[in-house]
């Protein structure tokens, strides 16, 4: 195995880190304190991100992205992940890979404008009654002549307020399987302003200030057949084929914040003096640092290895779940210990630690809860033994 980064990867890290430190960090305090990201600020940073080729860099080069391999892409994600989530997601957007699944016409209407920074997407699966168990969704799509009619509610939908359209997953029928009746799911593009489609303000959330979520309501929302993404009843298939390594993306952004917190903790332990010496000289503090650094490295190795396997075509569901699970849990531990090492100062919003600690919380819930990741890992272990 080869563990070093190649020249391109080192440059990707250097460029992205410089951008994050120079263009995003200076605005974090405003977003954190107001809980709001100003659109004029978004436009200003977005323009620079486009110039630096950082915008939508997750996309292949033939559609205007950077054409990165998975590891390089995740290194970029790690650097972006250091910053306030609303800032990096909105100003340096990574449009969902599922947009690549569209027809030529759908690509013209949705994919390219997202890559050029003219539109934002959002992805709606979760419902009040269906979270981990997405197949249990009740929002539905019913065929009427050549049209489809959508009804139901989606919630927790990230940045649907600024999105120009939503990719919505709806129960479109049922089929008999050996293990009972199973819902069939279809994915649709729904434009803002379509009659019968309403976006309502969502909940206030402890993590990622300025990064909103919304409630989507469908009341006899009528769509033509051309609004379907992929094939009828094949919504999850399109998602599984195209969404890509979103768990690794979560892992990578968590690694960035965990590293930021760890670097703060190391510097503080070397600077802060109590009882006549640097607190880093007390074993109670220094051993924490050792564990934090070791756990971060373990999480990084799991993530980079899964990325490498992803490109080799040998990645398993368990590989990606392990990386996501480990990185999100390590981030929580490191954020907590970094605050502990800072004493009272760690809680104050003058430092980024209190928010890294708050932001860590959602990472163990979205993109599959920690329990669901453990379920995926253990299922893979046991399946071959017939359990």
């Amino acid at each position: 195995m080869q563990f070093g980064l190649n020249e391109e990867q080192q440059m990707i890290v250097a460029t992205t880190r410089a951008f994050v430190e120079n263009e995003l960090f200076p605005h974090e305090m405003e977003v954190e304190r107001t809980g709001h990201l100003r659109m004029d600020l978004v436009r200003e940073i977005q323009k620079k991100a486009i110039e630096a080729g950082l915008y939508a860099a997750n996309m292949p080069s033939d559609v205007g992205g950077a054409g990165l391999d998975t590891l390089s892409w995740l290194l970029y994600e790690r650097e972006l992940g250091r910053a306030n989530y609303a800032l990096h997601w909105t100003c340096v957007a990574r449009p969902s890979n599922i947009l690549l699944a569209g027809t030529d016409e759908q690509r013209q209407k949705y994919l390219y404008p997202c890559i050029r920074g003219e539109k934002w997407d959002c992805l709606a699966m979760t419902e009040p009654g269906a979270g981990s168990d997405l197949r249990g969704m009740t929002a539905s799509a019913r065929r009427e002549g050549t049209d489809w009619v959508l009804n139901g509610t989606k919630h927790f939908i990230s940045h649907a307020d600024i999105a120009d359209f939503a990719i919505v997953f709806m129960a479109s029928g049922e089929e008999e399987t050996p293990r009972g009746r199973k819902k069939l799911i279809t994915a649709f593009f729904v434009d803002k302003g379509t009659p019968g489609f309403t976006v309502r303000e969502g909940y206030r959330n402890v993590s990622h200030r300025g990064y909103t979520n919304a409630v989507l309501e469908f009341d006899n929302c009528r769509l033509p057949e051309s609004a379907i993404l992929g094939e009828v009843h094949k919504g999850f298939e399109v998602a599984n084929t195209w969404l890509g390594a979103t768990r690794l993306q979560v892992a990578a952004t968590c690694l960035g914040r965990a590293d930021r917190a760890l670097q703060h903790a190391i510097r503080y332990a070397a600077e802060r003096r109590q009882f006549g010496q640097q607190i880093g000289k007390f074993q109670g503090v220094s051993f924490k640092l050792a564990d934090m650094a070791m756990e971060l490295k373990a999480a990084e190795l799991l993530t980079w290895e899964a990325a490498w396997r992803f490109d080799q075509g040998s990645v398993t569901e368990a590989d990606m779940s392990m990386a996501k699970l480990k990185a999100t849990e390590v981030l929580a531990m490191i954020a907590d210990e970094a605050i502990q090492i800072h004493g009272g100062m760690g809680l104050m919003d003058d430092l980024p630690l209190e928010r890294i600690w708050r932001d860590a919380r959602v990472e163990r819930i979205w993109e599959g809860t920690s329990e669901i990741q453990r379920h995926i890992i253990s299922r893979q272990l046991l399946r071959e033994h017939g359990a």
Binding site: M11, E51, A52, L54, G67
Partner: protein, 253 residues
């Protein structure tokens, strides 16, 4: 017109330098290295000349250890077209002196025939501020140092120089050597698509022998010391006391 830009791999400006135990220099083992910031400004200016249609090709050259290739790749990712690495040292601690660098660059200039050499005014590691001037002398070319503005028109360049206490504008005949100062421009980020493209841009590797230049050192470093640590400050009780101290003790007002 071709533009030649020499770039040096130096200790990153964010790194807190540590002097080697034997005082022979600064410890560079496992330390983050980057492109000399003044050279970054020179690369940026060269790319802007190309974007304006003044330059047709931007060639970057680095002299030093093999790892200087990384610095060249960064320049290529910013937008330079082609790179030349002159492998002149095996140990990261070997610094090639300005005269040897200038002689090697003169050799490159003879081969490449650029219309302008854009160099950093100095490297932030040893602050020599000599290479550009020596190169101009060896070539018998005009020189304009400490540029904060550059305009090329026909066979002339107008350069605004940052001199003590003000600015001086001069006109030089091309070909010329121009060394750049901090305020000339703000270098761009190496964009991600360009980073990926940099891999396929040509990078030629040469040795000092190819140019018939002897790079062995002529200078001896006697001693390297860290700057004296800052003394602890004092708290003053009032504005009057502060003014009195600035007058009587510091002697600054």
């Amino acid at each position: 017109m071709k533009v030649l830009v020499p770039v040096k791999r130096v200790i990153d400006y964010n790194v807190k330098v540590r002097v080697k135990a034997d005082g022979s220099g600064v410890d560079l083992a496992n330390v983050k290295m980057s492109m000399n910031p003044f050279d970054e400004i020179a690369v940026e200016e060269a790319i802007r000349l190309k974007e304006k249609g003044v330059a047709t090709e931007v060639v970057v050259v680095s002299i030093g250890v093999k790892q200087s290739q990384e610095t060249l790749r960064t320049a290529l990712a910013m937008g330079a077209d082609r790179a030349i690495l002159i492998e002149a040292a095996a140990d990261v601690h070997t610094d090639i002196e300005p005269l040897a660098v200038a002689k090697l660059l003169a050799g490159v200039v003879k081969e490449e025939a650029p219309g302008i050499v854009l160099a950093g005014k100095q490297a932030i590691d040893n602050d020599m501020n000599a290479t550009g001037q020596m190169l101009a002398a060896l070539l018998g070319w005009s020189q304009a140092t400490f540029a904060s503005e550059l305009a090329v028109e026909g066979d002339k360049a107008t350069v605004t120089r940052e001199v003590d206490g003000g600015l001086q504008t001069i006109s030089v005949a091309l070909p010329a050597v121009v060394t750049v100062d901090l305020r000339l421009n703000e270098p761009r980020y190496a964009s991600l698509p360009n980073i990926m493209k940099a891999k396929s841009k040509p990078l030629a590797t040469k040795t000092p022998a190819d140019y018939g230049v002897d790079v062995s050192p002529r200078l001896t470093v006697v001693k390297t010391t860290e700057p004296a640590g800052r003394k602890a400050g004092v708290k003053v009780g009032s504005v009057d006391e502060l003014i009195a101290k600035l007058k009587d003790e510091a002697g600054v007002i």
